[in-house]
Amino acid sequence: MLNKNQIAQRIAKEVKKGQYINLGIGIPTLVANYIPDNLDVVLQSENGLLGIGPFPTEDQIDPDLINAGKQTITMVKGSSLFSSAESFGMIRGGHVHLTILGAMEVSENGDIANWKIPAKMVKGMGGAMDLVASAENIIVAMQHCSKDGQSKLLKKCSLPITGIRCVKKIVSDLAVLEVLPEGGFKLLERAPGISVEEIRSKTEGRLVVEGEIPEMKFD
């Protein structure tokens, strides 16, 4: 079973040279730690920055420079700053190549739920609905099951959804899966030591298994 850092590390392998990427809060933020420098990717922060750098040192802290998770950050060379309207213009206009975000549930047709638990959590969707409706490639980082063992990869989401038919790939603590255009989770890789059978038993939605399923490799 992968830990959060391993999920992030595995997702980092999906990143391609020169991409502009939006990383959600939580595990997705950790992905930045595993993207090789030579890929020259640019991280977008939807509150108005292209070119997120590492967290600041104590003497670099600037309250006027935060990411979408409200954490203090720095800028890399070649950064640009802009308004929220411009930022979501970029997102909606398809200029951001890849969005990586967390999910509470994903359905077998690619619907995602990650913003609301009725009568329990009412924080709001932030930029998630814009991101999932707009990005050409959406990868989800999530736990395969809830704490009480219920599958989160479902036939149909039970929670209010954030967007429809948008998730392309899922990296969970158990597996890497592709959401097929015709519906269904196609199993691509298993976490080390996890069997296809275990993944099948923990996936409520239609699981597609073709041929031998390799174990993930970490460098």
Partner: protein
């Protein structure tokens, strides 16, 4: 050029009445009009509608206005990090309209730019789409969204001049430029106010035409919500 300077926050906001619709700039606690909010807290008004991406934290920003029960309705995209907010919402004291962040930014931009409605893909198939026109363009579904305007827009900039021109700093720009344009009366507070002619016209983020009142704020706290640092190497 006309001089839009007022002496301080109290004078700038003195005619904001109960029931007004306000836009308040900022993302999280970054780029919020601290001085205007402090002055509002001293006024005996309520029933306000606040359009703001966030709702502050319990003891800072709009959170303080919520505590004083000045706000009737919040129009926001994300309102976590605020226990008092959650209490008022669950008890029904506070009305809340949650809007996708990009849709919020664009609705405010539309209000300032005279675009009464536009189409966006955000929220299609979700509860955000309820009651809204859905339309297909080039094979993809979109929702029709309306403009947002305000009686007063309260914005915070880094530098400003007496003609109302504004320059923001870092990610404190966020919603401020669109809100400046969408307010019937826009009040700008700046860290440094200079005479007209001292800012480079090519570097202005908000042209003065949008700003009706401007003043130099003081004692900026610029509270940090999540102080994240790394060790110096």
């Amino acid at each position: 050029m006309i001089n839009k300077t007022v002496s301080n926050a109290e004078e700038a906001i003195k005619d904001i009445p109960s029931g007004a619709v306000l836009m308040i700039g900022g993302f999280g606690l970054s780029g919020i009009p601290e001085n205007c909010i402090a002055a509002l807290l001293k006024k005996d008004i309520n029933g306000l509608t606040c359009i703001s991406n966030n709702a502050g934290v319990d003891d800072f920003g709009i959170g303080l206005m919520l505590k004083k029960s000045m706000v009737k309705k919040m129009i926001s995209s994300y309102v976590g990090e605020n226990a008092e907010f959650e209490r008022q919402l669950l008890s029904g004291e506070l009305e809340v309209e949650l809007i996708p962040q990009g849709t919020l930014a664009e609705r405010v931009r539309a209000g300032g730019a005279g675009i009464p409605a536009f189409f966006t893909p955000a929220g299609v198939g979700t509860e955000v789409a309820e009651g809204k026109e859905v339309r297909e363009f080039d094979g993809k579904l979109y929702l029709m969204e309306r403009w947002l305007k305000a009686d007063f827009a309260l914005v915070k900039a880094w530098k400003g001049d007496t003609a109302g021109n504004l320059i923001y700093k870092g990610t404190a720009r966020n919603f401020n430029p669109m809100m400046a344009a969408a307010g019937k009366i826009t009040i700008a507070e700046v860290e440094e106010l200079v005479p007209a002619g001292e800012l480079d016209p090519n570097q202005i983020h908000t042209p003065g035409i949008y700003v009706q009142r401007i003043f130099q704020g003081k004692n900026y706290e610029k509270r940090i919500e999540h102080r994240t640092i790394r060790e110096k190497r």
